[in-house]
Symmetry: C2
């Protein structure tokens, strides 16, 4: 193992600081890690594609070492807090879900201690189950941490884009309702495995191609909003538009994305409480697509700045008394 | 090559008759073949999984021989008529589409002659393009042949379940409008490639398991009809129902099927002209699921009896004068 001080491009660009916590957002398809200093300041960030889906116990340990071995070695007592699918039944260790209404205090009290895995304080944030659309509750893991990292008022409506996109309603600082959309996953299935896949290419970065893709995205959003309930038909129009109307192969993925995001936004806007302005929890390029589509559909929305998952992990660690020991 | 007379389980169970035509319904995922006698009587039927998707010219020839070499050898001048994706740009030979309003005569006149492929009269039925939901027309290949095989009156509304399900409106014996749903394909993607796939098992044939599956199917249909526009959310409820509400692994596929078929039916029923009673073109177990769901949603519907594709192929061959030569 390398005895040099921890290295990271992000860390090199940051002013020095004393690390207080390693925070992990370990979802199904990615592992994101932060080295956090006083007041939750981000000293370094890293990411790998080692998602929780399909890893076994050895796999989790190896994936964490592959990304963060130098951090763990340099600060042997630094606590670790993780959220996301890492705490599911198929994850590293199950952290049983908290039932809504679920506030920050309930989450902090239900952190799962798993110190033996890393030989240091290691906590896994529980997921949340809350009232959904049908009789059974809806579920999330990881989103609750982002929500409490982004929450600035007593009430709020948060939109968390991703493989599984979430709309989360908060009242009196507690998560009370939740709605999951498989938007990102269905997009990936269409793009990779469907009969439409061979009609798709990725756009290059040229401004002209990017503008083409944006036009196709907008068309998809408009079709979805104009024809709610018709998604399984509209997806097929990617084929007819490509064969007959000149939709280019580098536009097809954006058109599909527009159909799926437009469907989600139209449906969720109808479901959502009307007294709350949605806050988009920024995370990736995906968030800018959501912001663009919300604007196009004339839904007023805010964008949370900063890294909400890191902020939530730090707040939970502090509340659980983990930072005193460091 | 085997010099024995053609063998087929179906043929053995049928009374003898003089073959007049080999009919092929060659879609993306299956090849179905009929040996047809006078008046289109079915003398034998066969089926293979050699769908048109991904075959090259040699592949088409080989797949046809694998299924029907004995028929082709026993009757060297027997004509062949094929419909479906075999006539698409990625098929064996492209049969350019006919634009709606498209009647039986327009289709018969536009049969593509491809005699050199088999050294005998060989015709491919063109596809149809017709007014759809958005500005671009909708498309089908194969469905037009089923529709004209099932048409009994001047007007009709036909439902053709499948990988891509079609709703086809006929006025004055011409196809005037068309709507494609990716219902079957999205089901297969969910069942095989999605994060829900590992929560699914196939039900065995025991009556109890079949009854379980039907209950889950009904629940899916009801949820879809009650929440139009929410499909990308409802699909995720398969996970929550399985984790929290006791939906068993052998019920999950039926629940997903109910959600997708229910979504299609609710949307298509709203789109469809209200003076026409839908006719379900029977083909497989899938058709009985559609009939059950239509009944559940209180949509009055008929079921076409017989094999509509075979009837349509025979009628087209006769109209094109192919049967005189045999």
């Amino acid at each position: 193992m390398d005895a040099d001080p921890p290295r990271s491009d992000a860390a090199a660009a940051q002013p020095a600081g004393t690390p207080r916590l390693i925070g992990l957002d370990w979802g199904s398809s990615a592992l994101r890690a932060w080295l956090l200093g006083d007041a939750g300041r981000i000293l370094a960030r890293r990411e790998s594609a080692a998602g929780a889906l399909g890893l076994d116990a050895d796999g989790f340990h190896a994936a964490l070492l592959a990304l963060c071995a130098d951090w763990l070695e340099a600060w042997p007592r630094l606590p670790v807090v993780a959220c996301g699918m890492v705490g599911s039944r198929e994850g590293w260790r199950e952290a049983p879900r908290v039932r809504a209404p679920a506030g920050f205090e309930q989450l902090a009290a239900a952190l799962l201690a798993f110190d033996e895995a890393l030989g240091r304080p290691f906590r896994i944030v529980p997921g949340v189950m809350a009232r959904g659309q049908i009789d059974s509750p809806d579920l999330m893991r990881g989103g609750e941490t982002q929500v409490f990292g982004a929450l600035r008022h007593r009430d709020g409506l948060f939109v968390l884009p991703g493989t599984h996109s979430r709309w989360v309603e908060v009242r009196g600082r507690r998560i009370v309702a939740l709605r999951t959309y498989m938007t990102g996953e269905i997009y990936a299935l269409m793009r990779r495995h469907s009969t439409l896949a061979r009609m798709c290419t990725d756009p290059d970065d040229s401004p002209a191609r990017q503008a083409d893709a944006l036009r196709a995205f907008d068309e998809g959003v408009d079709h979805a909003a104009a024809h709610p309930g018709s998604l399984t038909h509209l997806l097929f129009t990617a084929r007819t538009e490509a064969l007959l109307e000149g939709l280019a192969a580098h536009q097809v993925p954006a058109y599909l994305s527009g159909l799926l995001i437009g469907t989600e936004l139209a449906d969720a806007a109808a479901w959502s409480p009307h007294d709350l302005v949605p806050t988009l929890v920024a995370r990736s390029e995906l968030s800018s697509r959501y912001a663009h589509a919300l604007h196009r559909l004339r839904v007023r929305a805010r964008v949370a700045d900063g890294d909400s998952a890191a902020a939530g992990l730090y707040a939970l660690a502090r509340h659980a008394g983990l930072l005193d020991a460091a």
